[in-house]
């Protein structure tokens, strides 16, 4: 299977500060990948490097095999990008935004765009600046989807949306995925939303990749070990201890299991995605 997005040692430096460092990952084609991490983790930087908005300071990023920075004519028509806060031209009407899409993109599906706008209950004559946050996000998504991209990249698309708008946005997104031939990468710092839709996970913190892989594997490989207060050395010899917490009488370990956990001292339970991610974020 090819990688929709592949990075090797990707890094970006602003002055003396590395916003992203030694980032290597591969998002398989056809997956819906979640890029999670706290604010300032480098998510936006990573996505901007991927779509060619910024040049890397180290390493490279390839989309469908090409570099967006060096071969924009090959990459840009194949991707859809919605930046943070879903920018639109506020003085443009929705009709004019669609016209912009048509003028600037050779593979523009005008019928799809109009059909989506109609289904959203929006009038083409409305100015983009007068739309609500949820509506703007949907219009921005429409612009990206009408390009018929192979890869859709969304930077915190639901940050400013209320729960209903979030659900509708994700529903629209999944509908597009169901039609086939689309890989999605979306970044967020809210994990609960992503659990429903994503099948690939990348955890980013402090400018570095902490964890990456298929969601199913991630969840099945991690375990929570609880037992009487003690040290984790024996466990650590076989499995990767991600996080350990000690209270007065109890020790809790978050472990990435290397096979079955045979130690009778520990009670082994599965771990939810949110707790796994928090475990990785906490260990920086």
């Amino acid at each position: 299977m090819n990688a929709a997005l592949e990075t090797h040692g990707l890094g970006k430096r602003y002055g003396s500060r590395w916003a992203l460092r030694d980032c290597s990952l591969a998002v398989p084609e056809g997956s819906v990948a979640a890029l999670v991490g706290p604010n300032g983790a480098g998510k936006t930087t990573l996505l901007h490097l991927a779509v060619g908005l910024a040049p890397p300071s180290a390493g490279d990023a390839r989309i469908l095999g090409w570099s967006a920075r060096e071969q924009p004519e090959l990459v840009l028509p194949r991707i859809g990008f919605v930046a943070q806060e879903h920018p639109l031209y506020r003085g443009f009407t929705i009709a004019e935004m669609l016209k912009l899409g048509r003028k600037l993109n050779p593979s523009w599906d005008a019928a799809l765009a109009h059909e989506r706008i109609e289904r959203l209950g929006l009038s083409l004559k409305q100015k983009a600046g007068t739309l609500s946050g949820g509506q703007q996000a949907q219009v921005a998504l429409t612009l990206a989807l009408a390009k018929r991209p192979e890869l859709l990249v969304l930077d915190e698309p639901m940050a400013a949306l209320d729960p209903i708008a979030r659900r509708e946005f994700l529903g629209a997104l999944m509908e597009a995925v169901a039609e086939g031939g689309l890989t999605v990468i979306l970044s967020s710092h809210i994990i609960a939303d992503l659990e429903r839709v994503c099948d690939h996970l990348v955890v980013l913190a402090g400018g570095a990749v902490q964890l990456a892989g298929p969601l199913e594997d991630v969840v099945s490989e991690h375990r929570l070990l609880t037992g009487p207060r003690g040290d984790a050395d024996e466990v650590a010899r076989v499995h990767a201890v991600i996080e350990e917490r000690h209270s007065e009488r109890q020790t809790t370990l978050l472990v990435r299991a290397n096979g079955h956990v045979y130690d009778a001292r520990w009670e082994v339970t599965p771990v939810g995605l949110e707790d796994i991610v928090l475990g990785y974020l906490g260990r920086r």
């Binding site: 840009l76 991707i79 639109l88 031209y89 912009l100 390009k147």
Partner: protein, 318 residues
């Protein structure tokens, strides 16, 4: 992309067009009136004559429209404002960070920039053309009398207005690209435009070529009426120095000043004392040479500013 670029520029272009239209609405009636008076009150015939009565006619004419012609002083900043305004959409793209949308469609950053710059340049040239045609037409009669080198003529006619407007746009663009705020960029461009115009007009333009220096036996006739007189006519002795006061009092009476009164001094008295009139000027025929030099100056700087802005946008905007 042409449609997109135009649509983004539409508001500013309409504002500029409205300002010019307003100006035209104000100037066309007065311009027609001015031309009428010039043609029918015998002013036209008097321009090349040297008779006293004609001098009076000309002075009366100039006086009558002085109020209007002096308004041109206020128009000097207009090309600066309009040019800087036209650059606003490009700067707003950076301020509002909508470039994240524009540069991830299917068009390359280079082509996007080239189109936007072409539209900006085109709009500036069209606006400058409209202004130049309007003002040149209006000033026709006045220019016959005063020449096209006068400050309120030179800056509004020929080709320099195009260069001024391009310069203002380029300055606003360069400032805007660095600070990424449209309003401060506009202010910086306006101030820069004002400063540059003042420096060029007062310190550089007089020296584009060496001025012609003439020593005349009598005060200059009307033949210099359309030249750009830098100094004089003043009284000097045969060596070019200002005359001793005692000499002057002989002709003019005690307590008289030297400069500016060459016209009233009896000619016989002048030549008896060995005094001549000195004039330093650029003849009217140099108008177009000076236009090309000044336009070239501003266009050259504009090109450098645009190149800088383009480099910044292509390489440094993250």
């Amino acid at each position: 992309m042409l449609w997109v670029g135009w649509r983004q520029q539409r508001t500013e272009a309409l504002i500029v067009a409205s300002v010019i239209a307003l100006l035209a609405a104000l100037m066309i009636p007065t311009g027609i009136h001015l031309a009428n008076v010039y043609d029918h009150d015998g002013v036209a015939a008097c321009v090349t004559s040297e008779s006293e009565s004609c001098n009076t006619v000309l002075m009366v004419f100039q006086d009558r429209f002085h109020g209007l012609t002096s308004l041109f002083n206020w128009l000097q900043l207009l090309p600066g404002m309009l040019g800087a305004l036209l650059a606003a959409p490009l700067v707003l793209e950076l301020e509002q960070r909508t470039y994240r949308l524009a540069w991830t469609q299917s068009i390359t950053r280079r082509r996007w920039l080239a189109t936007k710059l072409a539209l900006l340049g085109g709009a500036a040239i069209v606006a400058a053309a409209l202004l130049t045609v309007l003002i040149s037409w209006w000033r026709g009669p006045v220019d016959e009398i005063e020449g096209r080198f006068s400050e309120n003529a030179f800056s509004f006619e020929g080709i320099v207005p195009y260069a001024y407007m391009l310069f203002a746009a380029a300055l606003a663009l360069a400032a805007g690209v660095v600070i990424r705020r449209a309003a401060p960029a506009f202010a910086i461009a306006l101030i820069g435009f004002f400063a540059a115009r003042i420096v060029v007009t007062n310190s550089l333009r007089p020296h584009f070529m060496d001025p012609v220096v003439k020593l005349l036996n009598k005060p200059p006739s009307g033949s210099l009426h359309d030249a750009w007189v830098l100094s004089g006519p003043s009284l000097v002795d045969r060596h070019g120095n200002p005359p001793a006061r005692a000499l002057v009092y002989q002709c003019l009476g005690p307590g008289a000043h030297v400069a500016g009164q060459a016209k009233q001094v009896p000619i016989e008295c002048l030549s008896k004392l060995g005094l001549v009139t000195r004039v330093e000027y650029h003849p009217a025929s140099r108008f177009w040479t000076f236009q090309w030099i000044e336009a070239g100056l501003f266009v050259g700087v504009s090109a450098a500013l645009v190149a800088f802005a383009a480099w910044w946008i292509l390489k440094r905007v993250n």
